[in-house]
Assembly symmetry: C3
Homo-oligomer: 153 residues x 3
């Protein structure tokens, strides 16, 4: 097991199975060193476990957890793409999509749930550029979606 997987274990987490896509697309696609990770939702065993808009239907704290769970699924996709997570050279871009009530404007706090987690797991290699937005609705009424562009070694 590589260093990154050791760290995931140290954090008390188990890398889930790579989530099955929710439509006719691939979990990832690669060109040279660039790896595109499909949008991940806060799913556990296939089921979206954080639903609804922030904050009218779900709290900011829970939404942060949702972002972390989506990021964990993205890591699982990275492993399936690269076989070995130590091959992640740099996470280049995260786009974080937050299902938002009309007057919610603190999407960055929610996105930090995913960003902080990626840095915890990958250290320097996990630091990334980011775009965060509120949206009216995500697939399966998910609270958060996370997609990534990753540079591989």
């Amino acid at each position: 097991m590589g260093k990154i997987e050791d760290r995931i274990e140290e954090l008390g987490l188990i890398l889930p199975e790579t989530p099955v896509p929710m439509g006719s697309y691939l979990p990832w696609a690669r060109s040279g060193k660039l790896l595109f990770i499909s949008g991940q939702l806060p799913r556990r065993e296939g089921k979206v476990v954080y639903q609804g808009r922030v904050p009218s239907e779900i709290s900011i704290e829970q939404a942060k957890e949702a972002a972390m769970v989506a990021a964990l699924n993205a890591i699982s996709v990275m492993k399936s793409a690269l076989e070995e997570l130590d091959r992640v050279k740099q996470i280049l871009r995260m786009t974080c999509w937050v299902a938002s009530s009309p007057n919610f404007f603190d999407q960055p706090q929610v996105a930090n749930g995913a960003s902080d987690f990626l840095v915890k797991v990958f250290g320097e290699a996990g630091k990334h550029s980011r775009m965060t937005t509120g949206v009216i609705a995500l697939p399966a009424n998910a609270t958060v979606g996370v997609d990534l562009v990753v540079a591989a070694r």
Copy 2:
């Protein structure tokens, strides 16, 4: 004519003229093998032909068609960028934007209209990673928007 254009013809489709951008931007930009295709709307002869939010103003079935029409426009842009569609090595990323009523959460079904079409046309090279989101409104009240990152040979 290349193989991909033959396939488009076999599907009974005609590759439209490259849509004129709806603002001060380019239909595509390229760096090395990476080709960025601007957001495409379900336009025919310049006009957005599928409008309104899913499902309150337009049905899921029509929205799937809209996604396919937007993808066809994206293919037309690919041709204008690469001259020859056989130079598409891999569609790396699709982002699919669906104008959504507040309680619509089946955006992936709409996005499949574009994804399935790209695979029909390009085969393996058309399989892609994807992010799908609902949004409150798209330019010209379009039902769907599709943008792509493509790897060229």
Copy 3:
């Protein structure tokens, strides 16, 4: 000072300090020649100065200005990444996010505020592919967000 900075001065503008990220992410990340610029908001000295949805809370004209200010912040990030703005080879992709009232569909006009400005500053190198969408809400109630992918020399 390089040519691009000269042009910014000729336009009567001052390149602002690189905006501090509004969360746990980096202003930019780079892999080879590809530079990913984090989402920029219309901030001046750290404060979001254009807020609310178009057009119910802020006019289209002001939203265009907001897009230009966000793009100016993105240029500041480019400078911090590349040291010298003349190293911008091509702006490959802009995604422009416009906080929109439900029945506003002219996001491209708002996005042109950023697009036109990038071309004014960078000339041919500033021409880019683009995706523009309406969204229900952006961080800090910003009117516009702009993120970029840039090719460096």
